[in-house]
Amino acid sequence: MKTAFRMKNFVICTTLALGTAAVLLGSPMLEHYQKHLKTAGDFTVAVAEQMPESDYGFKLTPAQMSFSQQIAHIANANMYFFSVLAGEKPADAKPASQNKADVIAFLKQSNEYCQKVLAHVTADQLAKSYKTEDGEMTGTELIMLSFDHTTHHRAQAEMYLRAKGIKPTDYKF
């Protein structure tokens, strides 16, 4: 009898575990985040590409960040958010210079890092609370912050393009 019960348990548990694993692997919200992170990253690269090298230091008013600083700030902040999520030491990285090529290379490096972290994130990491420079946040909140913060600064960068007579690339989500 004992053996029969154990066998039943084993079969039912294995079935449940496999079913759940399938749900977890196909976790819709995580898939959405991965999809939109990729779109957001590519969108920022497209905006960064639109500004000519000679105008990378441009800003509309003295109190603002320059175009290159806006793009580097997006990249740096995302590396920070996703390093917290990954439980890794925040990389205090910056572009080799404020030149267009170096800033875009830095942005691409940040995008790759964030996408890699999100590709391996677990449900536990999403639900867990982390201490951040902006207070206590769950993994999900860190991802939302990344979207919001990137969008906030990219939109400003787009206004710099407008000021230079360049039509910004269409909005993507």
Binding site: A17, A123, A155
Partner: protein, 188 residues
């Protein structure tokens, strides 16, 4: 699981022995089964919290521009500040109506948008979004909506509206800068 135990009361003569022997695998099963539930449940309170902050932040940006500058635009192809604020309100209401299936509370508005109208429409749209999000079930948030190939889940649409708002609010802050006004501090 001993299904017989559930059907036959006499089989409860050894409930404790049964319970303890079954606990470890069932605890493991319950834990595994609970993870995706926790994951989907996790998104909603976070969305509500940050939609509320976004409402506060967006209204602060709308407030920072003087009423007589609502017709201002830094470049010709752009929207005026008032139109930009109304576009945020209209788009949020659209996203949230699509996500929830509820009636869109805003009727389209064309032409110039004054500060009081923009503020009223932003408040109405954001309150609508927060109310629909609060009322959404896990099934509502998981439901796929829209035409094939362009489908988004309810949760994704709420996130889409949230991000679209950040996009235009970010632009609006540059309008403020050009007018010599320091934008309100970034809030998330």
């Amino acid at each position: 699981m001993n299904f017989q135990l559930l059907r036959n009361p006499r089989a409860t003569t050894r409930p404790l022995g049964m319970f303890f022997r079954l606990t470890p695998p069932w605890a493991a099963c319950a834990l595994l089964a609970g993870l995706p539930v926790a994951l989907s449940a996790q998104t909603k309170p976070e969305l509500i919290k940050h939609w509320q902050t976004a409402k506060h932040f967006t209204l602060a940006v709308a407030e920072a521009m003087p009423a007589d500058q609502y017709g201002y635009k830094p470049a010709d192809p752009e929207m005026t500040f008032g139109q930009l604020m109304n576009h945020i309100a209209q788009a949020d209401a659209n996203y949230c109506a699509r996500a929830s299936g509820a009636q869109n509370p805003l009727t389209p508005l064309t032409g110039d948008v004054a500060k009081d109208a923009a503020t009223a429409r932003l408040t109405q749209a954001l309150d609508f979004c927060i109310a629909q999000l609060t009322a959404a079930s896990a099934a509502d948030l998981a439901k796929m909506i829209g035409p094939d190939g362009k489908q988004m889940s309810g949760a994704e649409l709420f996130l889409g509206g949230f991000t679209h708002m950040a996009h235009h609010r970010g632009q609006a802050e540059v309008y403020l800068r050009v007018k010599g006004i320091k934008p309100p501090d970034y809030e998330f």
